[in-house]
């Protein structure tokens, strides 16, 4: 009576059959199996929902490339070998030092032997490598590449073998004809071998690769040329011609690096951030600006210092070519993890960036 606060007594429902039934259902539900986990919680605790903005819980749409270290190593070896075969032909055509021609042939032959070994080692079933030669498919860069590699390896080995034989016999013979023929064929197939790898990864569903379909073959071609030139320099050849090729290659790599940095395409994110981004930059620096500077410095000054500068430039270029191949494969893996590009999500490149 004295309490002014309005209050009401809750209805007594203990005898209401409908309420009793509800309590019964509740008890039944409680005794049944409980849901063991909060339903929407990803293992990393990120709680990305399934929505038009994030795709299916931010999970990857594409599959990661299954390739391991053999493939980037093969890209490097094949690229250098192919360019070396071209070099041997061009050098011979222009009447250069025979020792240079011989060494270029050896590099081509060695690369031509190592490459198939690497490629076979990466196959899920290496014993079935010959199935690659069951068919020839123009529309499959992998098929074109396999046939090119077989042709290159045999002709590059032939060129090296016949030139060795020719050196021993020292006389005009059919061997010279065979030598020239295999030399010519290895240069032609070498040109395909050192550039098709760009087509191989460029024409795939992986965004960072297919958005660079025009860039990759030129990038890899120049990288192979730089590596072949540098390997010859490390063998002790230091003609001005090699330095000129080295400078052209380094200028090309610098321009390619700059174009990657300047393009705003969100699909290029793996080239600019994360581990793959730093590898791309390291590879670019080692193949572009650094050797370019060293080679330009080597144009003046005294002979001895120039030789040293060019050796450093050569080591840098070879390392750069190798790092670049690894970086692109790594970038492909990072790109496959991000569903934003293939799903055309508004926040392209945002999801899962921490995992890249």
């Amino acid at each position: 009576m004295s309490d002014p606060t309005p209050h009401f007594t809750p209805l007594d429902t203990s005898s209401d059959p409908r309420e009793i039934r509800l309590q019964e259902i509740r008890r039944q539900a409680e005794s049944a199996t409980r849901i063991p986990l909060p339903a929407v919680e990803s293992p990393d605790g990120s709680r990305v929902p399934a929505s038009p903005e994030t795709g299916y819980y931010g999970m990857p749409l594409l599959k990661r490339p299954a390739w391991t270290v053999e493939i980037p190593l093969y890209f490097f070896a094949g690229g250098a070998a192919g360019a070396a075969a071209i070099m041997a032909s061009v050098a011979q055509l222009s009447g250069a030092d025979p020792r240079l021609i011989r060494d270029a042939r050896y590099i081509a032959a060695i690369g031509g032997a190592v490459s198939p070994a690497l490629l076979i080692a990466d196959l899920g079933m290496p014993s079935r490598f010959l199935n690659m030669l069951r068919v020839f498919k123009v529309q499959s860069p992998m098929s074109v590449g396999s046939w090119t590699l077989v042709a290159f390896s045999s002709t590059a080995a032939g060129a090296a073998f016949f030139s060795l034989l020719n050196q021993r016999t020292k006389m005009f013979s059919p061997i010279r004809v065979l030598e020239s023929a295999s030399q010519f064929l290895s240069a032609i197939t070498g040109a395909v071998l050192s550039t098709y790898t760009g087509v191989l990864i460029g024409a795939t569903a992986i965004p960072v690769w297919n958005q660079n379909a025009s860039l990759l073959p030129i990038h890899f071609g120049i990288s192979g040329m730089g590596a072949a030139t540098s390997l010859l320099e490390l063998r002790g050849h230091n003609t001005l011609a090699l330095n000129a090729i080295g400078i052209t290659g380094a200028v090309g790599e610098t321009l390619i690096g700059a174009s990657i940095e300047l393009r705003k395409n969100p699909a290029l994110k793996p080239l600019k951030s994360g581990r793959s981004g730093w590898l791309i930059r390291l590879g670019g620096l080692l193949s572009g600006p650094l050797p370019l500077l060293l080679r330009l410095l080597a144009l003046g000054g005294n002979q001895k210092r120039n030789g040293r500068l060019r050796k450093v430039a050569a080591v840098s270029t070879v390392a750069g070519s190798l790092v670049t191949r690894f970086a692109w494969i790594q970038a492909g893996g990072a790109s496959a993890k991000d569903p934003a590009i293939p799903l055309q999500l508004p926040e392209a490149g945002q999801i899962l960036r921490r995992g890249v």
């Binding site: 339903a39 929407v40 929902p49 399934a50 038009p52 795709g55 299916y56 999970m59 749409l61 594409l62 599959k63 490339p65 299954a66 390739w67 071209i86 061009v90 222009s94 250069a96 990466d122 196959l123 899920g124 079933m125 079935r128 199935n131 690659m132 069951r134 068919v135 498919k137 499959s140 992998m142 590449g145 040109a191 050192s194 550039t195 098709y196 087509v199 990864i201 460029g202 024409a203 569903a205 992986i206 297919n210 379909a213 025009s214 860039l215 990759l216 073959p217 030129i218 120049i222 040329m225 001005l240 011609a241 000129a244 090729i245 052209t248 496959a336 293939p342 799903l343 055309q344 999500l345």
Partner: protein
């Protein structure tokens, strides 16, 4: 032989995963374990070498104050994903051994006795379906139950589906059926239903299409899938230019720097 197709109608799916189980049993695919992904009641995550049917669980949490028929109410959508058996199939184009073929039923089929595990199909699929089995070494995906179709049976998943969410039939018939079902659903008030069948893309249509509620991107279905062969003209042109550049650079260097 007529071209066959799947119509997966997620509005009928109850998320029972009978299709996953039936597929595994019939095709004798290794198990994926009983791990939960933590993404609703999905425990396989995505299609892969050992998952040829994958039930997606799109769960939208409850928002207090919304219930009943409100679109913001707690909702649960299930959709059974499968290889799309593209008209222009990236994996088939990419395969260097000829292991991947088109069957007389229009499906895309990997001949396991030919595949050598080069894994090029893996990066050529715009839907992320094909995968290399790390233990076996070869690539695997849905066979469209080629063996069953050969003897006039429908695929295992469609047979096991208890709600006819997975329907199997002739491609043209099912496309028509899908349109009818869309009209029916819209008449019933389901305004947000979508038919996922990207016929305008370079993939040129698929042989497994889906009716889903909401944006198909929620189900990791890409709005504009592209068959990677479309990038080849660009890439080979660049390769030819690169070869020319390398030849030219070397020729110029050797001809002008002859003196040393």
């Amino acid at each position: 032989m007529s071209v066959t197709a799947f119509l997966t109608d997620s509005t009928l799916c109850i998320g029972c995963k009978a299709c996953e189980v039936a597929c595994k049993e019939w095709n004798q695919i290794p198990g994926d374990g009983f791990e939960w992904t933590g993404r609703s009641y999905d425990n396989t995550g995505s299609l892969g070498h050992s998952t040829w049917r994958h039930v997606k669980f799109v769960e939208n949490g409850a928002i207090p104050g919304f219930g009943g028929n409100s679109p913001a109410a707690f909702s649960w959508e299930f959709s059974s994903d499968v290889c799309k058996h593209c008209e222009n199939a990236g994996c088939l184009e990419a395969c260097p051994t000829g292991a991947i073929v088109r069957t007389e039923f229009g499906g895309v089929f990997i001949q396991s006795d030919v595949c050598n595990g080069c894994a090029y199909c893996v990066v050529s699929c715009p839907f992320g379906v094909v995968e290399r089995n790390p233990e076996d070494g070869r690539a695997f995906k849905c066979t469209f139950c080629y063996d069953r179709q050969k003897v006039g049976l429908q695929p295992a998943c469609a047979t096991a589906c208890p709600t006819q969410s997975i329907q199997f039939g002739k491609l043209d018939d099912l496309r028509e059926k899908a349109q009818d079902r869309m009209t029916e659903l819209k008449d019933q008030g389901f305004e947000d239903v979508h038919l996922y069948d990207p016929q305008d893309s370079s993939v040129g249509g698929i042989h497994a299409f889906f009716i889903v509620r909401g944006d198909p991107r929620t189900y990791n279905l890409p709005p504009q899938p592209d068959v990677p062969t479309i990038y080849q003209r660009k890439a080979w042109t660049s390769a030819a230019a690169a070869a020319g550049l390398v030849f030219g650079t070397m020729l110029l260097a050797f001809l002008t720097r002859k003196e040393s």
